[in-house]
Amino acid sequence: MLRAFLALLVIGTLAACGPSGNQDSESEGASSTAGSVETSNASSVLLRTETATDPVVGPSTVTVFVLNPDGSGVSGATVEVTGDMTHAGMVPVIDTATEVRPGEYATGAFEFTMAGDWILTTDVTLADGTSLTDEVELNVARE
């Protein structure tokens, strides 16, 4: 009986496990999304990741905005954008975004290699070493 109870307990616990979300900030939307996270120095920094509206297969620019609460840009950050498809094993597209204006970072060689569902993960490291992550889901159409 004890074993049966323990088995039920395990099953109940597993059943309570919903899909865990991203531990970092998560954004919604197709072509332009926003997310914000608290930094370790207690100030609030806003991340916004943008792609072209209705992205298609081929080269594309991903723009990442790193902004202070007052809207001013945060300079000197290291920004990396990773594009994953929703199927395991697909080679991710990884590109570093460079600062084109204060707080605005753009990729130079990012390419959507396949049509379908994509997830863009933006990893930002601020000058003070604080790490931020943003995640954007979007659908890429055929050319």
Binding site: P19, S20, D84, H87, A88, A115, G116, L138
Partner: protein, 508 residues
């Protein structure tokens, strides 16, 4: 309660392959005769299954970065087809689901009785339905994109194995229920190895048939439980220890085996045979397809499911190429519905029925041209083995394509498993491919083509076997069918992939 088995009379054993015995490789026989040999394969796979469940339920819900989706939909599937093609049913041999056997026996003792598996389910129809359910669920619920659902699928397999084997005779789950195992059983028919009797004259004089029923051996006969045939330790050739050595759980007797159907490669027979008279024999991949092995085992239900597998394999790949979405949109407009489950159901039903009809037509045409008249059942049982070869070729090509695309990603995914849980590791996500991307299509097409050649060879041999002077006529409808299906397969492999979570319009 074990099923009643009709044992063959003396001298009636069917011919078995007589190639090289892999157990002659140094150390292999000794290892496989070891009582705990199977655990050596099962424990690592159990560990991997635990990783799948833990990361699937609690890890990052991004398929390419989660162990559940990567290990299941990339590595398991890829390595299964590689193992089937070059060795045999290796994954059933190491199946961790069978580690539920002890808990199942415990539950069985608690229940105090064992139920008979319903007679109506003693065929491969249920397996066919469950395979279809898995393939349909894969598309309908985007299992490939959901670590969480993938983990639950793994849990469901463990729970299913436990429940079925707790209520019903052991081996019931493998033989009548398990979709994974039956996928392997069907396609192990093209594997280059088979369990055989080394010397059937020894089987003639063996009255206990321990390969089937099991045995127990002790130096001290008073220790015998009486549950299994007692063979004194002194009578065991190359004795492999004391204790109980279970026989075949799917009721196969080694000298009567004409193929790999229902053989889980558990090697119980190797351990149970007191005369060390079991071999793992190398054979031609065409041998079982030409032996009419399924006529005697499962017959039409199995052949129908195996034929449908050819089309479910095509559908599984087509569901990620642009024309599939165009067809879905057209169907949506025609049926005036945006219900994707309904549309997917219509597509699955349509392709299954269309595929079976086209296959049957090709088989009947070959029979008719060869002068055998129009007998659909006889035709499909004769030519169905051609569809098995074609089906495996495409499943292998498709799964291998994905495996080679991202096999190396298991390394950063494993690193991420620990990173997600606070360990200081930095996965290198650039690691993914095994081979250059320009090699992917040629490799997949070559695999598909190789099994098309096997299907053609089987076609020609069947024609020569059954049609005498009309063989040259009888083979042509089937050869044209093989050519047409192979061309279609290569076109599907050549199309650009599109991975969407919905069949109508964008998901996100």
């Amino acid at each position: 309660m074990a099923e009643r088995i009709t044992l063959p009379t003396h001298g009636s054993y069917p011919p078995q392959p007589r190639g090289f015995d892999l157990l002659r490789l140094p150390g292999l026989r000794h290892f496989l005769r070891w009582k705990h040999a199977r655990l050596v394969f099962q424990l690592p796979l159990l560990l991997l299954a635990l990783f799948v469940i833990v990361d699937g339920l609690t890890g990052r819900q991004l398929a390419p970065r989660n162990f559940a989706t990567t290990a299941t939909w990339l590595h398991y599937r890829g390595l299964v087809v590689v193992a089937l093609a070059v060795a045999g049913n290796a994954f059933c041999a190491g199946c961790p689901l069978m580690l539920t056997r002890r808990p199942a026996n415990f539950l069985k003792r608690m229940l105090g009785r064992e139920f008979r598996w319903p007679k109506a389910l003693k065929s491969k129809w249920l397996v066919g339905f469950l395979l279809l359910a898995v393939f349909f669920s894969y598309e309908a619920f985007n299992l490939w994109a959901s670590p969480w659902l993938t983990a639950w699928l793994a849990i469901a397999y463990f729970a299913g194995a436990l429940a079925i084997d707790a209520f019903f005779p052991k081996g019931t789950f493998c033989k009548y229920v398990c979709p994974l195992g039956n996928f392997n059983f069907m396609f192990a028919s093209i594997s280059p190895t088979q369990v055989t009797a080394t010397d059937t004259s020894i089987c003639d004089s063996c009255s206990e048939k321990p390969c089937l029923h099991g045995r127990e051996s002790y130096a001290d006969p008073t220790r015998a439980s009486g549950d299994l045939a007692f063979i004194p330790l002194s009578s065991v050739t190359h004795a492999n220890g004391e204790g109980q050595f279970p026989g075949c759980e799917t009721n196969l007797m080694v000298p009567t085996m004409t193929g790999n159907m229902d053989c889980t490669s558990c090697m119980n027979c190797v351990r149970a045979c007191p005369y060390d008279n079991v071999s793992i024999t190398v054979r031609s991949p065409a041998r079982e397809l030409l032996a009419r092995a399924w006529d005697r085992r499962w017959g039409l239900p199995l052949m129908t499911v195996a034929t449908a597998m050819l089309y479910w394999g095509l559908l599984n790949a087509m569901a990620m190429v642009p024309p599939f979405y165009d067809v879905a949109e057209w169907l949506s407009r025609t049926l005036t519905t945006r219900n994707e489950t309904l549309l997917l159901g219509v597509i699955f039903a349509g392709i299954t029925v269309l595929g079976l009809v086209v296959s049957l037509a090709a088989a009947v045409a070959s029979d008719a041209v060869g002068g055998k008249g129009v007998h659909p059942r006889a035709a499909i049982m004769r030519w169905g083995y051609v569809f098995v070869a074609l089906g495996f070729g495409f499943w292998a090509a498709h799964y291998l394509f994905h495996f080679l695309t991202g096999a190396a990603s298991i390394w950063p995914v494993t690193q991420h498993f620990f990173e997600w849980r606070g360990f200081d590791v930095d996965p290198n996500w650039r690691i993914a491919r095994f081979i250059p991307s320009s090699w992917l299509f040629p490799t997949a097409a070559a695999v598909s083509g190789a099994y098309a050649l096997l299907a053609s060879y089987v076609t020609i041999r069947i024609a020569l076997r059954d049609f005498g002077r009309k063989a040259a006529l009888a083979m042509w409808p089937m050869l044209l069918f093989v050519l047409a299906i192979t061309a279609f397969q290569v076109v599907v492999l050549a199309l650009p992939m599109e991975m969407r979570g919905t069949i109508l319009g964008p998901t996100l």
